[in-house]
Amino acid sequence: MKRRYFLKNGAIGLVSLGAMTHSPSFLTRVLAQKKANSGKKILIAIFQRGALDGLNAVVPYGEDEYYKLRPSLAIPRPDSGQGAAIDLDGFFGLHPALSGFKPIYDAKQLAIIHSVGSPDSTRSHFDAQDYMESGTPGVKSTTDGWLNRYLQIKIDKDASPFRAVTFGANLPRTMQGRAPSLAMTSINDFAIRAGGGEMGQAVQGGFEAIYAQTVNESLRNTGKETFDAVKMLKRVNPSQYQPAAGVVYPRGQFGDRLRQIAQLIKSDLGLEVAFTDLGGWDTHANQGASNGQLANRLTDFSQAISALYNDLQEKAEDVVIVTMTEFGRTAKENGNRGTDHGHASVMFCLGGRVNGGKIYGKWPGLKAEQLYERRDLALTTDFRDVFGELAKNHLGVAEPEVIFPGHQIDLSNIKGLIRI
């Protein structure tokens, strides 16, 4: 099929334009060795934009102070009837809307890191997201993102165009940088729509050639990545995708995106890093307790992630899913049954080789003098240490410090997060 297309276009003069001079050698390699992914480690990063209230997601029900600070928002202690927290370890409990996580936690494949985040004191969403994505809190001049810096460690010009994929309309900060990376809103839309047949091929070839020649570097590179990916996707044709038996992704954008990440992984397209995000965590007013605004977001969040995890089946062995959020929220509820911008929050980490079933990090306490600036959950683990652990022991980066310049990675709080 592919060969015929090349010949056809060659006959009509496209070959001379150099459209094929950079035909991805990855394609040919894929023909020879079907499994591009076999054994390769995969990281799926999920950003909860807007600042997740970690104290209500993973509830410190063993701490009386929690109930004093949050008279209308607190999640009731486990075994106290409807809407109660789901006990994890005798001190922490899951928000009831995260019930989808419990079986994976019990199977010791889901770990929680509590009181984690960025050490920078900013309470600006924009700055804090920027810092978490660049991986350099407090330094604004960093031009690339940390996920991209990971990809840069082993840039391979024959790498799959699907090596790094973002689901979303924009390329996030964390994926920006020298290493090629791709963004899409949906797999099915990832093609040139110029009608079928020869004509359509000619137009696609035309666009490809035009972008290959443009002087604007970013348009040229992006163009190349785009067309490599389009051609490859067409070969694999993942549009006929059926999730594993019994797996149901929740309806909506987030579930759709995670389903497509599973699709890419199972199609062996060479995916190594996937990123996506979801908003709606900025609960200044009417946050709700066991039910309500935050509960609805958490339901969507955990159902989609558990679906992805279960859908991966034996592939889960090579995958780590990690979540992050720019900061936490005030320990005390505000006057509008909500919470304002705070400091530390929680991260979730799932994977076949995640040493799960426990909560990592040090609990700083919620007494006034234990709070950060006397108002927020204090930070005891730097988010870069978590990513550093994943880079080192999951992705096999010898010196994760390269990804987080200026930071000495300290694994003491999260020792053994990944089983080696």
Binding site: N170, A202, F207, A209, T226, N291, R337
Partner: protein, 579 residues
Amino acid sequence: MIKQAIIKYFSITLIFVLASGSALSLAQTTQKEKAKNTAGSLSSEQKVIHMLNRITFGPRPGDLERVMKIGWQKYLAEQLHPEHISDEVVGTKLKELESIRLDNRELANNYVRPNQVRRQLRNRGLEIPQPAQEPGPQGEMARQRREVRKALDEMGIKPQQEILQELQQAKILRAVYSEKQLQEVMTDFWFNHFNVYGRKGADRLLTTSYERDSIRPRVFGKFEDLLIATAESEAMLFYLDNWLSVSPNAQMGMNRMRRLRRMQSMPNQNGKIPNNRSRGLNENYAREIMELHTLGVDGGYTQKDVQEVARCFTGWTIRGPRAGGDFYFNQNMHDDGEKVVLGKKIPAGGGRKDGETVIHILATHPATAKFISTKLARKFVSDNPPQSLVDRLAGSFLKTGGDIRQVLSVLFNSPEFWAPENYRAKIKTPFEMTVSAARATGAETSGAPPFHRWIAKMGEGLYLAQPPTGYPETAENWVNTGALLDRMNFALALSSNNIPGTRVDLDKLVSNTNSMKASQIVDQYVRILLRSEMSPETRATIDKTLNGQMAMNNGQSAPGIDISKVVGLILGSPEFQRQ
């Protein structure tokens, strides 16, 4: 329209220009100047193209010639005073859209929420069709939809989603058709600067008046007026939660307190409305007015300042936002103690004046001048604007008391704006790209939702930026693989008339193609759509693609070529992504 305006207000000059024949000589010098361009300055034609690219949503066929005649200086002066521009075409187009003229209360009364729609339909034994997991019999869904629509029409019910949809439609229509182009560009800029999310609760109905009454009338005025207007707007008070912010020591009557609680509350897990006496500040607006609206994140404020500003704005609230109620100041919610904001003491007992004092402090602060100037320079000049320009704009901002028209005037007359390295150097955002393509091809559009769906797909859904930062301006946010494909596919969809509600007539753009060779026809389109400014390589590729087509058509000549694909290639080319 432009022509009318010109005749009306610049007739004397126009006659002079025509009589002296300088229009002709202008055209002659263009060729020479074009050759000179490499030596360091834009030709007069390029200058006009540059101006049209930056202060409008892209030139339409004929715009360049019209502005060449009057000169960019006059065109700019005209655009900076939209009150003198007549705008009948867009006026007629907008007549169809009822909701954009209604006030908040009328919108609340006439447009009902989805669950109410469902309830009303159920009373008639109808259900809103849901896309089933298992596909049902062919056409069943469409039939159900028609039935539901008919029933709603009969009952005189309009669904609330229509408000936002019409607002999006109006924005597209204004961008495509309005003669007050710079006003619309600036309305988009300021809306994005003072962003609200059109799908957050009551903002589904409050956004219409926000843009129409708070923003558009002030886009060239004093920055402080704009800041006050947004601070007092129901849409902003709701979006950033300030309407709920209450002094912890408020002397609120129990009835009012209970009512407010009821409005704010959702049932707790026992299904009861909690009777809770906690009350307090909400910092959301206080933080964003400093970080995003005025000083910028490095503007030198502290967490303490955020809390103090939040105290100042307590009591700035809304009477029943979901019923379309108005902004008012509620003394009982207000914290009337003394505050200190950015080192300035605000004495106790100020009431509503506290918020106004804060606005004045912020609007006149040097950090604000710098922050706004940087954003304007980034928007109109380059993604990395030169510091010299930003400083000059900030100086003008401070000197003129934040007079936006004057700051813009300095900007458009600056050497940095006209520097050749900034010519066609900015990447269009999705909204700019789609609208400029419609304008360049002289498309007829109703602004119907299929057009907006393309913008949304590329990540810039109108009124749909969820975070208070609004949408980014710079290229790295908009150039990525998926979005690039979407741009090419949009170009093809537009040129092939595959966007319902929007039509192009490509034959009309070029006259007398009968005797032309295919390559000459392409030349005509490249000239009209890109002023011939296309790289020889791109041009050659289009020819080759054409040759391929013709080979497939067994060597048929010109009439056999598919012009829609050629135009698709031009509009989807790297050249057309730049402005």
